[in-house]
């Protein structure tokens, strides 16, 4: 089973090798491999904190910072880190950057920090960051990895800001705190409650699939999630293992 996933991982890495230019790496993160809508990674924050558009931007920026930092450092250290202990090494690098973000947020943006709460330290276990470390930074030079971090981070930020905007508009009738729909309709609190998060995210992914004509979302999703990081790889792995039992 492990071999199977290994082969898939190699395939994706090969695929990524072909696209070299920095611009395409950046654009990949935003559309082709949008982490929230296409790779379906990092679902925890994209559902939990998107009650306000502002939170989406804050979370997106924090995740981008961690992603860029960890991608850059892991790429710089890629020849030093031994294959067998790479996961703990990645964890330490990612956790350090997360701690930096936590401290910066607590010091300069205490309000946002309070709003996002435990979801800031939880960036550590965000699949996106592991996935990029494992799939990209580990195999590519620093400049490309840096760009990949920026692309993926921006893609994630755009995605969760959209989710946040939709939920805020429908749920509170405001956007970025500005009243918008005062005389149009009564805001439905449902959308800022947890079920609204699941619903909006599901509908937005469907819309994204429709607009960008994703042929068979299921195969892509399986493949990508399958060879992402420890967490998701495990999930897919386990799902597969379970089926054969």
């Amino acid at each position: 089973m492990r071999l199977h996933w290994y082969v898939l991982c190699q395939e994706v890495i090969e695929m990524e090798k072909k696209k070299k230019s920095l611009g395409s790496i950046f654009l990949d993160g935003i559309i082709n491999q949008n982490p929230a809508f296409r790779l379906l990674l990092g679902n925890c924050p994209s559902l939990a904190i998107t009650t306000l558009a502002k939170n989406g931007v804050g979370m997106g920026l924090a995740a981008t910072f961690v992603l860029v930092g960890s991608n850059l450092f892991i790429s710089l250290l890629r020849k030093i880190i031994p294959e067998k202990v790479r996961i703990p090494c990645f964890i330490v690098v990612i956790a350090s950057f997360t701690t930096i973000v936590e401290m910066i947020m607590a010091a300069f943006l205490p309000e946002l920090d309070k709003e996002l709460g435990i979801y800031i330290p939880l960036i550590v276990v965000n699949c996106i960051i592991f996935a990029r470390a494992e799939m990209f930074a580990q195999k590519n030079p620093p400049v490309e990895s840096f760009m990949d971090g920026i692309g993926m981070g921006t893609g994630f930020m755009i995605a969760i800001t959209i989710i946040g905007s939709v939920r805020e508009l429908l749920g509170s009738g405001t956007w970025m705190g500005i009243p918008v729909t005062v005389n149009l309709f009564e805001p439905a609190t449902f959308f800022i409650l947890p079920p609204g998060g699941f619903l909006v995210m599901g509908l937005l992914i469907a819309l994204f699939n429709k607009v960008f004509k994703v042929k068979d979302p299921r195969t892509i999703e399986d493949k990508e999630v399958g060879c992402c990081a420890v967490g998701c790889q495990g999930c897919a792995n386990a799902a597969n293992g379970g089926e054969t039992v």
């Binding site: 925890c44 939990a48 947890p194 699941f198 599901g202 469907a206 429709k210 299921r218 386990a238 379970g242």
Partner: protein
């Protein structure tokens, strides 16, 4: 005792980890296709949650607090959890092969499960005692189990349903999750004091 019961019911129903706090969404969406895999995964998560709550609480109380190192919480917790999961896997393999066979495949993926790190961060936030945080971990695990098993039942039916092209895969799963989450909102008014 009453307080512990409140934590137990609270974490299972009122603030269900998956459906209201969005912790552990990855396995919730990833391994809920079949009830049997869902059972294995939730068993492993509950098992690790209880142990990790105990160990992270001790780490926090006796290692981080006395030296004023609370700012290293995130790094310390994730490393402790990662080591612990590895340790549990090795011990289970040697001593309880039957249990290892049932839970083994799910163990390595728990390190990056938000629920485990999340509950450790929550006990710090709420200043729980040792017993309280262990009970909280156990209850969070049970809540996770409940959500996962309920949901896997629904997903098994989705397999045969006729779904529009764009909704296939994740979108319809998320919409189903939304409906399950609505039912859990019904517990929101339940306050035990």
């Amino acid at each position: 005792m009453k307080e512990l019961f409140a934590i137990l019911i609270g974490a299972i129903l009122v603030e269900n980890f998956v459906l209201t706090k969005f912790l552990g969404i990855c396995p919730f969406l990833g391994v809920s296709q079949k009830t049997s895999t869902a059972l294995g995964m939730s068993g492993a998560v509950t098992f690790v949650l209880v142990i990790s709550q105990a160990v992270t609480w001790l780490t926090n109380e006796y290692l981080l607090k006395p030296y004023g190192l609370e700012y290293l919480q995130t790094i310390a917790f994730i490393l402790v959890i990662a080591t612990l999961v590895q340790f549990v896997e090795t011990v289970l393999k040697k001593t309880m092969p039957a249990l290892y066979k049932a839970l083994g495949v799910y163990l390595p993926l728990i390190t990056t499960n938000c629920a485990v790190l999340g509950s450790a961060l929550i006990f710090v936030e709420r200043d729980y005692t040792f017993i309280q945080s262990v009970v909280f971990g156990f209850a969070a695990g049970l809540g996770f189990t409940l959500a996962l098993i309920l949901f896997s039942g629904i997903r098994e039916r989705l397999e045969t349903a006729d779904i529009p092209e764009a909704f296939k895969g994740m979108p319809i799963t998320l919409i189903a999750a939304s409906l399950v989450s609505i039912t859990f909102m019904g517990f929101a008014g339940l306050i035990i004091s």
